[in-house]
C-alpha cells in the first residue's frame, strides 16, 4: 500500500477507535432529528391555525382567503444545517486538533519521522484521512436527513431534492474539512496545546458566530420583528429599489459577511435547499450560477488552508515537539 494511504488508513482507524466519528454521527444525527421534528411540528401548528382561520370564514369569503401554507420538505432541515455550521465547525476543529495532539503527546510523531516518509506526505495522508472521516460522517447524516424528512416531517421528496441535498452535503464536507485543516495547521504550528485550542476557539467564535452576527445586525430588515420593510408595508420590488440608494452600507455589510466561510456555506446551503425564498424551486444550474462566487470561495479557502498546512509541516520541529 502506498505510504500516503497507510497514513490515511491510520487516521481513520484512530478516529474510529477514539469513538470520535461515532460521537459526531450521533450528535449531528440527533440535531437533524430534533430540527426536523421541531420544524414539522411548527408547520403543523401553522396549518391547524390556517384551518381554524379558514373554517371561520364564510363560503364566499373563502375564495379570497390567504394562501395555504406550503411545505417545502428540504427546508425542514434548516436548523440541522445551522448546527453543522456552528457545532460541526467546532467538532471539525477538535478532530483536526486531536489528529496532531495525539501524535505529539504519544510520541508517535517521532516514530513516523524516523521512517522513510516525507513530512508533507504525513500531512497529506492526514488531510486525506480527515476528508474520508468527514465524508463518512456526512454520508450518514445525509441518509438520516432523508429518513427524518420522510419519516418525521412526512415530506415527499423528488429525485431533484436528493441531488440538491447531495450538493449541500458535499459543500458541508468541504466546509468541515476547512476547519479540520485549520486545526491541523494551528496545532502543528503552536508549541502548547492550550494555545492551539485558544487560538482555534477564538477563530471559531469570530468566523462562525461574531462576523455573521454583526452582518445580521447591520441588515436593515433584521431590526424590527417581522422585518423593517414588512412592518412598513413595503413590497419586495420597492424594497430593492430603496436599498439601491444605500448601496455603500450594503457593500460594507456584505463585505464583512463574505469574510466568513460560515456565512458563505450558509448562503450555498440555504439557496440549494430553497430556504432563501428567491432561490426556492429554481433549477440547480440557476442557483449555482447565482452563487458562483460563494462556491468558488469555499473551495478556494479550503485549498488555501490545506496548502498552508503542508507548508507548515515542512518544518520538522512542528511534528517533533512534545507538549
Amino acid at each position: 500500500m502506498h505510504r500516503l494511504l497507510i497514513i490515511t488508513k491510520k487516521e481513520v482507524q484512530d478516529a474510529i477507535r477514539s469513538k470520535q466519528a461515532l460521537a459526531l454521527i450521533a450528535f449531528l444525527s440527533l440535531s437533524i432529528l430534533i430540527s426536523v421534528w421541531v420544524a414539522s411540528t411548527s408547520f403543523s401548528i401553522k396549518m391547524n391555525e390556517y384551518n381554524v382561520y379558514l373554517a371561520a370564514l364564510t363560503p364566499d369569503m373563502q375564495a379570497q382567503a390567504l394562501a395555504r401554507p406550503q411545505l417545502f420538505p428540504l427546508t425542514l432541515i434548516r436548523s440541522g444545517i445551522e448546527y453543522i455550521e456552528i457545532l460541526g465547525a467546532l467538532f471539525a476543529f477538535i478532530i483536526g486538533f486531536t489528529s496532531i495532539s495525539r501524535e505529539r503527546s504519544r510520541g508517535t510523531s517521532l516514530c513516523l519521522l524516523s521512517r522513510p516518509i516525507k513530512k508533507s506526505e504525513i500531512l497529506l495522508g492526514k488531510t486525506l484521512g480527515l476528508f474520508v472521516i468527514w465524508t463518512a460522517v456526512l454520508a450518514t447524516i445525509y441518509l438520516t436527513s432523508i429518513t427524518a424528512i420522510i419519516g418525521i416531517g412526512h415530506g415527499r421528496l423528488q429525485v431533484i431534492d436528493f441531488v440538491r441535498l447531495g450538493i449541500v452535503f458535499l459543500f458541508a464536507d468541504i466546509y468541515l474539512l476547512f476547519w479540520s485543516l485549520f486545526a491541523v495547521a494551528v496545532t502543528a504550528r503552536l508549541k502548547q496545546f492550550s494555545s492551539a485550542i485558544l487560538v482555534g476557539i477564538t477563530s471559531w467564535l469570530m468566523v462562525v458566530l461574531v462576523i455573521p452576527q454583526i452582518g445580521d445586525t447591520m441588515d436593515p430588515d433584521n431590526q424590527v420583528p417581522g422585518g423593517l420593510f414588512g412592518s412598513l408595508g413595503i413590497v419586495k420590488a420597492t424594497e430593492t429599489s430603496i436599498l439601491a440608494h444605500f448601496h455603500i452600507f450594503d457593500v460594507i455589510r456584505n463585505g464583512l459577511e463574505v469574510t466568513s466561510i460560515t456565512k458563505l456555506f450558509e448562503r450555498i446551503a440555504f439557496a440549494f435547499l430553497g430556504i432563501k425564498d428567491k432561490y426556492n424551486q429554481l433549477p440547480i444550474s440557476s442557483v449555482a450560477k447565482a452563487l458562483e462566487s460563494s462556491l468558488i470561495a469555499v473551495i478556494l479557502l479550503t485549498v488555501l488552508v490545506g496548502i498552508s498546512t503542508v507548508l507548515i509541516s515542512r518544518n520538522e520541529e512542528t511534528l517533533r515537539r512534545r507538549n
Binding site: L205, Q223, V224, L228, L232, I234, H245, F246
Partner: protein, 298 residues
C-alpha cells in the same frame, strides 16, 4: 489566610498567563464597540425610513423614534452570551489546570491547607478579573453612548447599565466556576475546555430551539425571533426552561436595559438564572475540592 494567599496567587498567575489574552481582548473590543455597531445600524435604518417617507410609501411611524438610550447596548447582550461565556470557561478551566500541569497539588497536599478556602480564593480572584473586564466594557459603552447621543446617560440609565453589568458578571462568574470544575476533573487539558464548550452550545442553541422552535442562528439576532411553539406539553416546557440559561439572561438583560418594552422582567427567569448561578458556584467548589490533585493524562 489560605483564602488571601490563593486569591493573590491566582490574580498574579492569571495576569502572567498569556494564553487567554486573545479571547479577553476580543471580549473587550466587541462589548465596547457594540454601541457603535448599534448606532450605525439605527442611523442607516432611519435614513432608509426617511427615504421611504419622502416617496410617500408609508405613514407608519419611524420604528426607532424615541428608542431608549441603552438601545445601542443590545448587541452587547449577545456578546456576553457568546464571547463572555467562552472567556469565562477558559479563565476558569485554565486556573484549575495550571495547578494540575505544574503538579502544585502534590506540594499543597503535604501542607495543612483548607481546600475549600483555597478554591473559594481562586474563584474570587477570577471573579475580580471578570468584574474588572466588565467595568472597562461598561465604561467604554457609557462614554460611546455619551458621544453618540451628545448627552450623558441620566441616573436611571446609569443604574440600568450597572444592573446589566451585575447580571453579566453573575453569568460569567458562574460559568467560570463550571469551567474551573471541568479543569479539575477532566482527564486531559483539551477535554477540560471542550466539554463545557459543547455544554454551552447545547444550552445556548439546542434547548431554546426545542422550547420555542427558533432556529439556532436566529438566537444570535438582536431582534427576538417569532416563536411558533413546538407542540410540547407546557409541563415539559416548564421543566426544561430553567436550563435555557442564556435565554433567561437575555430576557433579564433586555428588561433591565429597557431595550424591548414588550419584555417584562419575569420572576421565573430571574429565579432560574439565580439558581443556576448559585448551583454552578457551589457545585464547582464541592467538585473541585473533592477531586483535588487528580493527575492529568499525558
Amino acid at each position: 489566610m489560605i483564602f488571601k494567599a490563593a486569591f493573590k496567587h491566582e490574580l498574579l498567575s492569571s495576569f502572567r498567563s498569556k494564553s487567554p489574552q486573545l479571547v479577553v481582548g476580543v471580549f473587550l473590543v466587541l462589548t465596547s464597540i457594540s454601541s457603535i455597531i448599534g448606532w450605525l445600524t439605527v442611523r442607516n435604518v432611519t435614513k432608509i425610513y426617511n427615504d421611504i417617507v419622502s416617496q410617500n410609501l408609508t405613514t407608519a411611524p419611524n420604528p426607532f423614534i424615541n428608542v431608549p438610550s441603552l438601545y445601542y447596548m443590545r448587541d452587547s447582550v449577545i456578546y456576553v452570551v457568546l464571547i463572555g461565556s467562552l472567556m469565562a470557561i477558559i479563565l476558569g478551566a485554565q486556573a484549575s489546570l495550571r495547578d494540575r500541569k505544574s503538579n502544585a497539588s502534590e506540594l499543597i497536599k503535604t501542607r495543612n491547607v483548607n481546600l475549600v478556602h483555597r478554591i473559594v480564593g481562586q474563584l474570587s480572584a477570577i471573579a475580580s478579573i471578570i468584574v474588572l473586564l466588565e467595568i472597562v466594557a461598561l465604561l467604554t459603552s457609557f462614554i460611546l453612548i455619551w458621544v453618540i447621543q451628545k448627552t450623558p446617560l441620566n441616573i436611571g440609565g446609569i443604574y440600568a447599565l450597572l444592573g446589566y453589568g451585575a447580571v453579566s458578571v453573575i453569568l460569567m462568574i458562574s460559568i467560570a466556576a463550571i469551567g474551573f470544575a471541568f479543569g479539575s476533573i477532566s482527564k486531559t487539558e483539551e477535554s477540560s475546555l471542550l466539554y463545557p464548550i459543547v455544554g454551552w452550545a447545547v444550552i445556548t442553541f439546542t434547548i431554546p430551539q426545542v422550547i420555542t422552535s427558533t432556529h439556532p442562528v436566529a438566537l444570535l439576532n438582536p431582534t427576538p425571533a417569532v416563536a411558533t411553539g413546538t407542540g410540547l406539553a407546557q409541563s415539559v416546557i416548564n421543566g426544561i426552561s430553567p436550563l435555557a440559561v442564556m435565554e433567561n439572561f437575555k430576557a433579564i438583560a433586555n428588561a433591565i436595559l429597557g431595550i424591548d418594552k414588550s419584555i417584562q422582567l419575569s420572576l421565573v427567569d430571574l429565579f432560574s438564572f439565580s439558581l443556576f448561578a448559585v448551583i454552578g458556584v457551589m457545585a464547582s467548589v464541592v467538585i473541585s475540592s473533592k477531586t483535588f490533585g487528580r493527575n492529568l493524562d499525558a
